[in-house]
Amino acid sequence: MPKLIVIIISAVLVNNFVLMRFLGICPFLGVSKRVSTAAGMSGAVLFVMTMASVVTWLIYRYILVPFGLVYLQTVSFILVIAALVQLVELALQKLSPALYKALGIFLPLITTNCAVLGVSVLNIQKEFTLVETTVFGAAAALGFGVAMMIFSGLRERIELCDTPLPFRGTAISLITAGLLSLAFMGFTGLVNL
């Protein structure tokens, strides 16, 4: 149990996926213009990352390792994640139209989110158990969500500011992301994992 708490703190704050590991930067910059879309994306990521962590862990443990195919890890994980997102989308549309509508376009977009692949690979590297893997996946997605919410809130405020002309748009967003990443470095050393 203490290890699970350490994993959560580590994934959300200390080794935040976006701000410390620099994974999932593409949706971080792409859909962070508004807090509402950022929240939608975070929700979809939370859903997919947790599922993907579990499924890739099972694939690795019960297919790749027994057959000595560990070197196919990246390829098979990409394949599984893409198929999984498709499956989830199909199932959601039927089973929970409300959630499907809420996640909307963000669900298929996640197929290409490297944070999802990153969390799957890290699970294997850190030799987590299935429970730890599930917790790590969800916590990493929460960390992604925290970064998204902070960043989109900042961007909404910046939009209203009188930014100097050369810095408007992407430039000031990237500077903000950099400063935010620096701020998160303050968590370094809080827990060790």
Binding site: S76, V80, A91, K94
Partner: protein, 279 residues
Amino acid sequence: MLTAVTAMAILALALAFGIAMAARIFAVVTDPRAELIEGALPGANCGACGLPGCSELARRIAEGKAPVGACPVGGEPVAAEIARIMGEAFEGGCERQVALVLCNGSDQVAAKRFFYNGVFDCASAALVAGGDKACTYGCLGFGTCAAVCPFGAIDMLPGGLAVVDPSRCTGCTKCVSACPRGIIRMVPAGRRVHILCSNHEKGAAAKKKCAVACIACQKCVKAAPEGAITMDNFLAVVDYSKDIPDPVAAECPMSTIVVRPGEACAGDAGRTAAAGGEG
């Protein structure tokens, strides 16, 4: 090598089979017409119809919950196309509405009270002592409406005045809700005579602030057909359901009333815009 190929092939096949099965099990029956209708809609997802997006409107129309002409942006051509998809008869109406900025007070004619040097946005400017323009009913000219227009139909004149181009305006009403002054109004596209002022102050006060303000002299009210122009708290207001002949504009001593080319009605070629007909 062989194990690798076999394992990946089996994995891929299993996933493909899984997706195929899921597609069968979780198949959602959708009306094929909804897709066709979505193709016919403008696809701007502007929300002018009151629904979250074009696909939602398409679904509603296919289900018969919304009329074929529910898209105010697409207007008549789109409505006709959707009616064809739905197999309904569509009688062409000329209801196209366009936005109109009810102010003609550019910086050349309208006085300013102070120099505003804040955020370049109408809402922000309006918060600072009611805006820099002396007339508190006038266009602030920072282009908030032009910025929200998804169709680029609003031009900002150099004198700090927003002007809607009726040919590009699709009637999505986004500018109407964006304007902090509330001086943008939806009017029928075929109309030619407009009173471009929103100032409700008495004549003398309005005249001091703007050279083209309505001074409530009521000359136009008398010249126009009964009820076509009415006075509302010292401001002449056009009732767009009634026809106003062009010469009424010449009656205005302040040049507040303008004549702009109206749009000919596509569905009713018999009446031309030149005759001031229903647009």
